[in-house]
């Protein structure tokens, strides 16, 4: 994948984490405006790639960022990176608005939830650390696998349609995605 070097986790006051913390702590509108400048165009890009027309994608982008504003206090930086959190909000709003479907989500405080076994909890790394590891794993993937992962996230297409677009047999698309996922799984668990 051709990408910029990963942003280092930053503790300075202009990092997305610090901006979101300012929104959560004191409803800081200036901090929110900077988050909007950074994430708004990316959320719009995501929605456009998945086939929303421009006007609807612009509206939805505002809705997504308003959700960021309203729910800032629920964001837990130990569980996920901000970009991950915003990705899930954009994904769910899109399902809601465009597919007119509910997005079934688990409830982390459900008494029926089965907790992690101790060996899994022991291997937990902080979310910003995990993002750096993930970036490294993606960079090591063969380009054909990385490309398929990108298509899987940014094109509203079935695996069959992706196969047709790339003029590949469906079996090849499926096996490349499986390989990429297996690599993510093993490499992310290997790393110290």
């Amino acid at each position: 994948m051709k990408v910029e070097p990963p942003p280092q986790p930053s503790r300075d006051e202009s990092s997305p984490a610090a901006l979101l913390a300012a929104v959560a702590a004191r409803a800081d509108k200036v901090a929110f405006a900077r988050l909007y400048d950074h994430f708004g165009p990316r959320v719009l890009s995501y929605l456009r790639r998945l086939g929303s027309d421009q006007a609807i994608a612009e509206d939805l982008t505002q809705e997504v960022m308003l959700t960021v504003w309203r729910r800032a206090a629920t964001f837990d930086p130990s569980k996920a990176a901000i970009s991950t959190w915003i990705f899930t909000i954009a994904r769910n709003r899109r399902i809601d608005a465009l597919r007119k479907e509910r997005r079934p989500e688990l409830d982390p405080s459900d008494p029926a939830l089965v907790g992690e076994p101790p060996e899994m909890a022991d291997h937990k790394v902080a979310a910003d650390e995990e993002a750096i590891q993930l970036r490294a794993v993606i960079d090591e993937l063969p380009e054909e696998q990385a490309e398929l992962l990108r298509l899987a996230f940014f094109q509203d297409k079935s695996h069959a349609a992706i196969a047709e677009q790339l003029a590949l047999p469906l079996g090849t698309v499926k096996s490349r995605l499986r390989l990429a996922m297996a690599k993510l799984r093993t490499k992310m668990q290997d790393r110290p």
Partner: protein, 216 residues
């Protein structure tokens, strides 16, 4: 720990939002019971976040920031907040499935035939039929084949099928090549969520029992 999981493609489809609601419901309910797949989906969502961060930014229209800033003090519409759970807690059924059933599974509209009970959970969507299946302890689901794919999530008890045992949290996947006859364990009734696309090849009295549920 669960031993049988959704396919990689289903976990990816849940994380990227591609999966239709019936299968997304099945995967999300499995996640409540399976820390391994929960970690897997969290990893895929982190990948989504990373790729979002790298997307070439699109141009927001002039005035977009001002528009959104002007709306910051508007309270969130009440409809977008999840309503509190009204029904008594039934931990046999994890969320989000519990919300779809809306009470104890006993209260569903079950169609019964020879120790088997089936109840439709939502209207057919994206060619997917979604129903709850209740197999009384020791009973078998009659031999059947499929034209499509079937995913079955076990919630209580267990069933045996093709030399494997599927217990709480396990997902059994069957495709067009599968002809099978799941048998519930003797000890406990087996309640499952089934998502099915395609037509079940079930003939005779069983077919007449199940068809109305699948077709509705």
């Amino acid at each position: 720990m669960t031993r049988h999981h959704p396919s990689d493609a289903q976990l990816l489809g849940y994380a990227n939002g591609e999966l239709a609601e019936p299968l997304a419901l099945l995967v999300a309910t499995h996640l409540a019971l399976c820390p391994r797949c929960r970690a897997e989906v969290a990893r895929l969502e982190a990948l989504g976040g990373l790729l979002l961060e790298e997307l070439p930014p699109a141009q927001l229209p002039a005035g977009s920031l001002e528009d959104v800033m002007a709306r910051l003090d508007t309270p969130e519409p009440a409809s977008s907040l999840a309503p509190p759970e009204a029904a008594p807690l039934d931990t046999r059924i994890p969320r989000p499935l519990r919300d779809y059933i809306g009470g104890p599974p006993e209260a569903l509209n079950w169609h019964t035939f020879r120790g088997l009970h089936a109840a439709r959970l939502m209207p057919e969507r994206d060619d997917c039929k979604t129903y709850m299946l209740w197999i009384e302890a020791g009973r078998a689901f009659p031999v059947h084949g499929h034209e499509g794919n079937e995913a079955t999530l076990v919630l209580t008890g267990s069933f045996a099928d093709g030399g494997e045992t599927y217990a709480r949290g396990d997902v059994a996947l069957a495709g067009p090549e599968t002809n099978h006859r799941p048998v519930a364990d003797q000890a406990e009734d087996c309640i499952c969520l089934v998502v099915y696309d395609g037509t079940l090849r079930l003939t005779g009295p069983y077919g007449r029992w199940l068809n109305p549920i699948l077709r509705l």
